[in-house]
C-alpha cells in the first residue's frame, strides 16, 4: 500500500517533466470555442511552436470568459471575437497591442421548411420576420461573441427578444444550441465552421448568409504585463507578431474543412 502511494506521488512529481523540454516558457492562450472546435488551432499552432520552440496551452471558452481570464492574469494572450468588448478590455488597461487577425462569418440556420420565409433575406430583415412570425429562435444566451452578435441584430431590428414568442435562451455552446434548434425546429445564429460540423447531424439549412453585417472579426490582445508581472509577455507579443505576419496569415488562409475556407486573414 505504501509502495502504491509512493509511486502515485512520484507520478505527480514527475509528470510535468514528461515530454520534450522547450527553450521558451509555455504560452497560455485563451480563445473561443470556434477556433478550437473547427480545428484551426491544431492546424496553425504547431507551425508557431516549431518556429519558436515553445508550447501553446489552449483554453477554449466563450469570448467573455476568455477576456475575464486575461483580466485576471490567468493567461498570457487572448484571441477573441467581440470587437466592442475587446476595445473596452484595452481601454480598461487589461490588455495591450490589440491586432486584427482574421474574420469568419455567421449564418442563420433553421429548419428546411423555413416557417418565417427568411431564405435569402438580409440579416436584419430575417430577424424581423422571425420575430413577426413567432417561429422561434434558440439563442446561445452565454455572453459569447456569437450571443453578442445576435443581440446587436435584435437591437438594430428594434425587437425585444425576451418578449418574443418561441425565443429560448439556452446558455449552451454552439454545437448544443444547433442540436437544440434542430430538436425544437427553430432558427439560430451560428458561425459557419460549427454549422458545417453539425450539418449532417442536425439537418438544419443555411437560410441567410453573405450579408456584410454577418462578418465576424477576430482580434488578438496581449494581457497587460504592468498588471500581471508574472505572465509570459514576451511569448504573447511573439505570438501576436507571428499571427499577423505573412507566415501566420498564410497558415490561416490555408486552413480548410472539407475543402471550404472558414477563416479569412485580415491583419494590417
Amino acid at each position: 500500500m505504501t509502495m502504491f502511494f509512493r509511486s502515485l506521488v512520484y507520478l505527480f512529481l514527475l509528470s510535468p517533466g514528461i515530454g520534450p523540454a522547450h527553450a521558451a516558457p509555455d504560452l497560455r492562450l485563451a480563445t473561443t470555442t470556434s477556433t478550437e472546435n473547427s480545428g484551426l488551432l491544431s492546424a496553425i499552432l504547431p507551425l508557431f511552436e516549431a518556429k519558436y520552440d515553445t508550447k501553446v496551452r489552449v483554453i477554449s471558452v466563450g469570448s467573455g470568459k476568455a477576456m475575464k481570464l486575461g483580466e485576471n492574469g490567468d493567461v498570457d494572450v487572448v484571441l477573441v471575437h467581440s470587437r466592442a468588448d475587446e476595445e473596452k478590455f484595452v481601454a480598461a488597461g487589461f490588455g495591450i497591442n490589440r491586432r486584427d487577425v482574421m474574420y469568419n462569418d455567421f449564418v442563420i440556420a433553421g429548419p428546411k421548411a423555413d416557417p418565417a420565409a427568411i431564405r435569402g433575406s438580409g440579416v436584419l430583415t430575417a430577424f424581423g420576420k422571425i420575430a413577426a412570425a413567432g417561429s422561434g429562435f434558440v439563442s446561445r444566451g452565454d455572453d459569447s461573441g456569437t450571443h453578442k452578435m445576435e443581440q446587436s441584430y435584435w437591437k438594430a431590428t428594434g425587437v425585444e427578444p425576451a418578449a418574443m414568442s418561441g425565443y429560448v435562451s439556452a446558455g449552451l455552446g454552439m454545437g448544443e444550441v444547433l442540436m437544440m434548434a434542430a430538436e425544437l425546429r427553430r432558427y439560430t445564429l451560428t458561425d459557419r465552421a460549427t454549422y458545417s460540423a453539425y450539418r449532417e447531424k442536425t439537418g438544419l439549412e443555411i437560410l441567410v448568409s453573405g450579408d456584410s453585417m454577418l462578418f465576424n472579426p477576430y482580434g488578438a490582445i496581449a494581457v497587460n504585463p504592468a498588471r500581471h508581472p508574472g505572465i509570459n509577455h514576451a511569448g504573447a507579443m511573439q505570438f501576436i507578431e507571428w499571427l499577423t505576419s505573412p507566415d501566420g496569415q498564410a497558415a490561416i488562409a490555408a486552413f480548410r474543412v472539407d475543402g471550404e475556407q472558414l477563416f479569412f486573414p485580415n491583419a494590417r
Partner: protein, 236 residues
C-alpha cells in the same frame, strides 16, 4: 474581481431578492422534490421487496441496485436524450428540453440510491416486527408498512440521500433540460454557465444556496434521527 468582492456581490444578489437568481433556485427545488415524490414510494417498495422476499434473481437485482447508485449521471442524461430526441422512440412526446424530462432523469438517478438505502435499513430491522404484525392478523401489505415504520429513520435517510444526489446533479439536467433560461435552468447548470461567462458572483451566490440546501437537509436528517435514537436508548 477578487474573491472578497465576488462574495460581497454574491450576498448582495441574495439579499436583494434578485428574481432571476431565486427563479433558478425554485426550478431546482421544484424538479428535485417532484422527482423524489414520484420515485420515492416506488423505490422504497422495491427496496423492501428486495430485502424481504426471496425469489430467483434477487441477488443479481441487489447487486445491480447497489452498483447503479454510482451510475454516472451524464450517462443517464445521454440515454434519456436518445430516448426523448425527435429521432428517438419517445420523440413524439416532445419532452426533450422541458422540466418533465429533468424530473424523469432525476427519478432514474434517485431510484437506486433510495432502493439501496431502504434495502439495508429493512435488512437491519428486527424481523420480529413483521412476524408480530402478521401473527396479529395483519395482511402482507399491512405487515410491510409496520416494518417500514420501524425503519422509518433509515428510510428517511434514504430519501435525504437521494435528494442530496439529485439537487446537486448537473450532467443529466444539462443534457435533457438544456439549461434554458427561466425554464430548465437549475442551480448546477446556472453555476456552470455563469462561470463560463465570467460572472462569478452569480455563481458563488447560487453555490451558497446549494450548500445551504444540502446542509439543511443533513441537519434535518440528523435532528430526526437523533430524536429517534435517543428514544430507543431511553426505553430498553
Amino acid at each position: 474581481m477578487d474573491l472578497l468582492d465576488t462574495t460581497r456581490e454574491a450576498f448582495r444578489l441574495l439579499y436583494s431578492g434578485d428574481p432571476t437568481l431565486w427563479g433558478i433556485v425554485w426550478v431546482s427545488i421544484k424538479v428535485s422534490v417532484l422527482a423524489l415524490v414520484l420515485v420515492g414510494p416506488l423505490a422504497v417498495a422495491a427496496g423492501f421487496v428486495l430485502a424481504h422476499l426471496a425469489f430467483p434473481g434477487r441477488r443479481l437485482l441487489v447487486i445491480l441496485v447497489q452498483a447503479f447508485q454510482s451510475f454516472p449521471t451524464v450517462v443517464v442524461g445521454l440515454l434519456l436524450y436518445l430516448l426523448l430526441s425527435r429521432q428517438g422512440p419517445l420523440g413524439a412526446l416532445q419532452l426533450l428540453f422541458t422540466q418533465p424530462a429533468m424530473v424523469l432523469g432525476q427519478m432514474l438517478i434517485a431510484f437506486p440510491v433510495l432502493a439501496a438505502y431502504t434495502l439495508s435499513a429493512v435488512q437491519g430491522a428486527d424481523p420480529r416486527a413483521y412476524e408480530t404484525a402478521a401473527s396479529l392478523g395483519a395482511g402482507r401489505v399491512r405487515a410491510a408498512i409496520t416494518t417500514l415504520w420501524e425503519v422509518r429513520f433509515g428510510a428517511m435517510a434514504a430519501v435525504f440521500m437521494g435528494f442530496g444526489r439529485i439537487i446537486s446533479e448537473i450532467g443529466c439536467s444539462l443534457m435533457v433540460g438544456g439549461n434554458i433560461a427561466g425554464l430548465t435552468r437549475n442551480i448546477p447548470t446556472a453555476i456552470a454557465l455563469e462561470t463560463s461567462k465570467g460572472e462569478f458572483a452569480q455563481g458563488v451566490a447560487l453555490g451558497m444556496v446549494l450548500i445551504v440546501l444540502a446542509l439543511a437537509v443533513n441537519v434535518a436528517l440528523a435532528a430526526v434521527q437523533g430524536q429517534g435514537g435517543m428514544r430507543r436508548a431511553w426505553q430498553p
